[in-house]
């Protein structure tokens, strides 16, 4: 148990030193990045150790806070979420070094490194905490540290706006969690997780579940609580966004998973809720991702889609628990947890890729890029692996997770009665459509950015990426491939983490799902066969072309010789048919200054797709709250003596109330 604490200590120490050494950019960077990397590696080792060997350890120290205790523990569930937290922190820190140093003449590197390490420490603490107060403190540390990272570029108005949205959203989530823990404490008499588990009456469980879904769902990014994601991720530096999307949104999901272990057995409507939210988030997220022109906004919306997929897996799991079908329960939860790991890997990779693009080409507007794979072949290959993995294609890791969720849904559909089966069918249909739309989205993002010819001067003259910016991408790309090829082993490691969720002995679980996990071995066989066939075909092609004319020419333009890079299909034109088709769900605004007449002037066209939920849902709601509360504004007159009077009145009122209570 000491190792994770040491890792957190190294985070905090490195961050503090970086802050103190803020005047000296290199020393500050060495300390901040060093702390993040060393702490991350130590923590990753501890987490992998706990995950692979299924060990649990706990520690309890006295802490003078009402209802609080410094109680931490690591079990397979915590360890599974600690892996992306520590791993991504260490990897993203590598990209952070050149990224922050490049701007060191404009602003100090000290505070960003301090908050980055503080966020990492908060994330790790949330995953380890076993007491409600400690959990909430760590949660707030994580949320506030990340707020300061989102607003690094606070000189820009849209960044401040994004930061404000994030701050409000995260605190609305926290408010819901506060209510949840308060209710739990009332029932259990303590805020220690051990005491809460088993002491929550069944009739209170539903409310707690809903509070958890709202509170944790806000952090994870369930639609419609997702509005802050597409604002905050593009505003934050890419290496921070990689940790926020890859680790922090996962920690939100962790909270939901952990809460499920504390509550009594699930009712069927919980499954309905999560599957409904999952399908909604998945489709809403991927449709909006598809339409975005900003690479990081696209990735942010795709994050909404992916937590939706996790929620669908959890829903299938809950359905299994509620209908006493252990196979389904294990498959659903295992698929969800596997997808958590996978999403952390490929989304971290893609955000780091966005960081490289932004640093080298100076823009992340997809339609202004193109042809980058010639300038950075290795980065492009890694991004291709990440993009193919997020589409869920074999033989990469994304397929294995979705395979388990699909298997769970297909089995539900086959064995359970009508209402549950209808739910499973909705999952199958939605997953299939989401998979197809993810293919649209990521062929667009990869194809338009990296392939073809450069669309602008900026893309044509993109500098070579700093090796330290690109290096962590290769580690993550290798992880995508290796986890995909060893998916059956990885599932074996995940299964112990499923045990507390389904309330079974970890040793009994592998036998239950053998029939559904063994196919992953066959999938790996198929992958090996695929690799062998590709190699064979490559040899055949090489032999055929040996000694023949292989020449280079220009792209076939159907006889037209004057083709320019501007005539290529752009990202907007690539997804235009899909956007038109899904127009009822997407509010896309187009403006066209058309070229007409005999001597036409300049024409222009622009298209933008905004998420309507912020404007249609939250803005009116907040405006209404604002109007109502404005009536109380007279209370705050700005005169100090009136405020002192309020304090005096409050104390008198409390005294009267106290005396009244004690007299009874």
């Amino acid at each position: 148990m000491t190792l994770p604490l040491v890792a957190i200590g190294v985070f905090l120490g490195g961050g503090l030193l970086a802050l103190l050494a803020g005047r000296f950019p290199r020393a500050s960077t060495a300390s901040g990045a060093g702390g993040a990397i060393v702490g991350g590696v130590l923590g990753l080792y501890a987490a992998l150790d706990a995950l692979v060997f299924g060990t649990t350890a706990s520690l309890r120290l006295p802490w003078d806070v009402p209802y609080g205790s410094f109680s931490i523990a690591i079990d397979p569930l915590s360890a599974l979420f600690a892996v992306p937290v520590f791993g991504l922190t260490a990897l993203a820190a590598f990209q952070g070094i050149p990224s922050l140093l490049a701007a060191s003449d404009r602003r100090s590197v000290g505070p960003p490194w301090f908050f980055f390490n503080l966020m990492a420490a908060g994330l790790a603490m949330v995953v380890l905490a076993r007491n409600g107060v400690l959990f909430l403190v760590a949660w707030e540390v994580m949320a506030l540290a990340s707020y300061f990272l989102v607003t690094i570029e606070h000189r820009r108005a849209e960044v401040r706006e994004a930061g404000r949205t994030y701050l409000i959203a995260t605190h609305l989530g926290t408010a819901s969690l506060l209510a949840m823990f308060a209710l739990m404490g009332r029932h259990a008499g303590s805020l220690d997780f051990d005491a809460i588990a088993g002491n929550v009456p069944a009739e209170a469980a539903g409310v707690l579940f809903l509070l958890a879904v709202v509170g944790f769902g806000t952090k994870a990014g369930f639609a419609p609580f997702h509005v802050w994601l597409p604002e905050a991720y593009p505003a934050a530096p890419s290496f921070v966004a990689a940790v926020m999307s890859g680790a922090m949104s996962k920690v939100g999901l962790y909270g939901l998973f952990r809460t499920l272990t504390l509550l009594p057995d699930a009712s069927a409507w919980w499954a309905w809720t999560l599957i409904g939210l999952g399908i909604g988030s998945g489709l809403w997220g991927i449709l909006h991702a598809m339409a975005q022109g900003d690479y990081k906004r696209l990735l942010a919306f795709s994050g909404v889609e992916n937590v939706g997929i996790v929620a669908m897996g959890m829903g299938v799991g809950l359905l299994g628990v509620a209908s006493k079908a252990p196979v389904l329960a294990v498959l659903g939860f295992a698929g969800a947890l596997f997808h958590v790991l996978n999403h952390a890997t490929f989304k971290g990779l893609l955000f780091l890729s966005a960081g490289v693009i932004e640093a080298t080409a100076g823009t992340r507007e997809i339609d202004l890029l193109g042809g980058l794979s010639r300038r950075m072949p290795a980065v492009s290959a890694a991004t291709l692996i990440g993009s193919a993995a997020i589409m869920g294609l074999p033989p990469l890791n994304g397929f294995a997770g979705e395979f388990l969720i699909f298997s769970g849904a297909f089995r539900t559909e086959m064995v359970l009665g009508s209402p549950s089966s209808a739910l499973a069918l909705a999952v199958i249909g939605a997953l299939a459509l989401i998979g197809g739309l993810a293919a649209v989205t990521f062929t667009k993002s990869f194809g338009i950015v990296f392939l073809g010819s450069p669309r602008t001067e900026r893309a044509a003259t993109a500098s070579r990426p700093h090796p330290m910016m690109a290096a962590p991408m290769f580690v993550l790309a290798a992880a995508c491939v290796l986890v995909g090829l060893a998916s059956d082993r990885v599932v074996g490691v995940i299964l112990p983490a499923v045990a507390p969720l389904v309330g079974m002995d970890p040793r009994a679980i592998p036998a239950i799902v053998r029939e559904s996990v063994e196919p992953l071995w066959s999938v790996n066989l198929a992958s090996a066969l695929l690799a062998w066939l590709v190699v064979t075909l490559a040899i055949v092609r090489g032999l055929l072309l040996a000694g023949r004319d292989v020449t280079a020419s220009s792209t076939w333009g159907c006889g037209y010789q004057g083709a320019t890079a501007r005539m290529q299909y752009t990202g907007s034109s690539f997804v235009e048919p899909a956007i038109k088709f899904f127009a009822p769900f997407l509010k896309s605004r187009e403006s066209l200054a058309s070229t007409t007449g005999v001597f036409p002037g300049e024409g222009s066209f622009s298209a933008e797709t905004r998420d309507v939920s912020k404007d249609a849902l939250y803005r009116p709601a907040f405006a209404a709250v604002g109007r109502t509360l404005a009536r109380l504004r007279w209370v705050q007159g700005g005169r100090v003596h009136v405020y002192v009077l309020y304090i005096g009145l409050t104390i008198v009122a409390l005294l009267v109330w106290y005396l009244g209570v004690s007299a009874r």
């Binding site: 559909e413 089966s421 073809g452 198929a526 490559a538 020419s553 220009s554 299909y569």
Partner: protein
């Protein structure tokens, strides 16, 4: 026992071998059918084989815009289509690779092949190929639910999650009990077959340079062995989807232990029947307007869903 195992293995290898040999013949049959219906003599049945041989014997010209992705695309695409063929049962022979959930792998392998074609098309930087890629990804995204929901209906009916298991359970007597949902699925998969293979009414494989094109326009820049790989891969994909249709949904087989050669022959005949059917559709229908194609695919998804409703409602049994 060892002999039995050997026999099973040998039987399971029959389909891949047949597919690898006869897949281009389906294209030949389609072409011939269209020619006859149009009152022409038409190319010989073996024309696709001649095309492939000619292409394999050529050199190659690559656009200066392209990268390794353009060169790797056809190889990975063909390889993943071949692996997809290995998952499909034929006649009464199970597939060499069969496991619960192989239908998911099947769908996603076709997705991998599609990704290769689409990225190779975008790699050329040509507006035409970008246009084809854009349409391909949208239509296949809409075809995916039709395919998987249709197979979900068959899975429910046959209580099996593997394509080979579905084929084993799909006997004539079982079929007669659930003919309505299964025929709905058959129509849905038929639409998926036409759309995924870029045939009329979704796409017209004959008009290389028209802007109506989807698949053909994406491979404009490929030549030589690369184009041969693509053409062969397209033929195999057609074969795989047709074999999926007759293997899992239609019970065209005797199904007794010793009649498997008859079953293989029956299946081969049905494959040719499907090719003739595609040729007839191409000769008698016009291509749909691009904006109508999604409606056709949603129609297929609706049929699959309806099949499931019947499955659960037990209206038929």
């Amino acid at each position: 026992m060892a002999g039995g195992l050997f026999m099973t293995l040998a039987k399971s290898l029959i389909h891949p071998i047949l597919a690898l040999i006869f897949a281009p013949l389906m294209l030949g049959v389609i072409g011939r059918t269209k020619a006859i219906l149009a009152g022409r003599e038409g190319p010989p049945l073996a024309q696709p084989y001649h095309d492939l041989r000619k292409l394999l014997g050529k050199g190659a010209v690559y656009s200066r815009t392209t990268t390794w992705i353009f060169r790797a695309g056809p190889m990975i695409g063909l390889a993943s289509t071949i692996v997809a063929v290995l998952l499909v049962p034929f006649g009464s022979c199970p597939a060499p690779l069969a496991f619960p959930g192989d239908l998911i792998l099947f769908a996603y392998l076709l997705g991998l092949a599609r990704l290769c074609t689409v990225l190779a098309a975008l790699d050329t930087g040509s507006a035409f190929e970008g246009m084809g890629a854009s349409r391909e990804v949208l239509f296949s995204a809409l075809a995916e639910p039709a395919l998987l929901l249709g197979l979900a209906a068959v899975a429910r009916e046959t209580r099996s999650l593997s394509l080979s298991g579905m084929q084993a359970a799909q006997t004539l007597s079982a079929w007669s009990g659930a003919w309505l949902p299964l025929s709905l699925v058959a129509v849905a998969l038929g639409v998926v077959l036409l759309s995924e293979n870029s045939r009329i009414p979704v796409d017209d494989p004959n008009t290389h340079l028209e802007l109506t094109m989807i698949h053909e326009v994406m491979v404009l820049d490929h030549g030589g062995p690369d184009l041969a790989f693509i053409l062969y891969g397209a033929a195999l994909k057609m074969w795989a989807l047709a074999a999926l249709l007759i293997g899992t949904v239609l019970p065209i087989r005797v199904g007794l232990p010793y009649t498997w050669p008859v079953d293989v022959a029956l299946s081969l005949a049905s494959m040719l029947g499907i090719a003739v059917g595609v040729g007839v559709v191409e000769s008698t229908m016009a291509r749909l307007r691009m904006s109508r194609v999604p409606q056709l695919l949603i129609f297929a998804t609706t049929l699959s869903t309806l099949a499931l409703v019947f499955e659960f409602g037990g209206l038929i049994r």
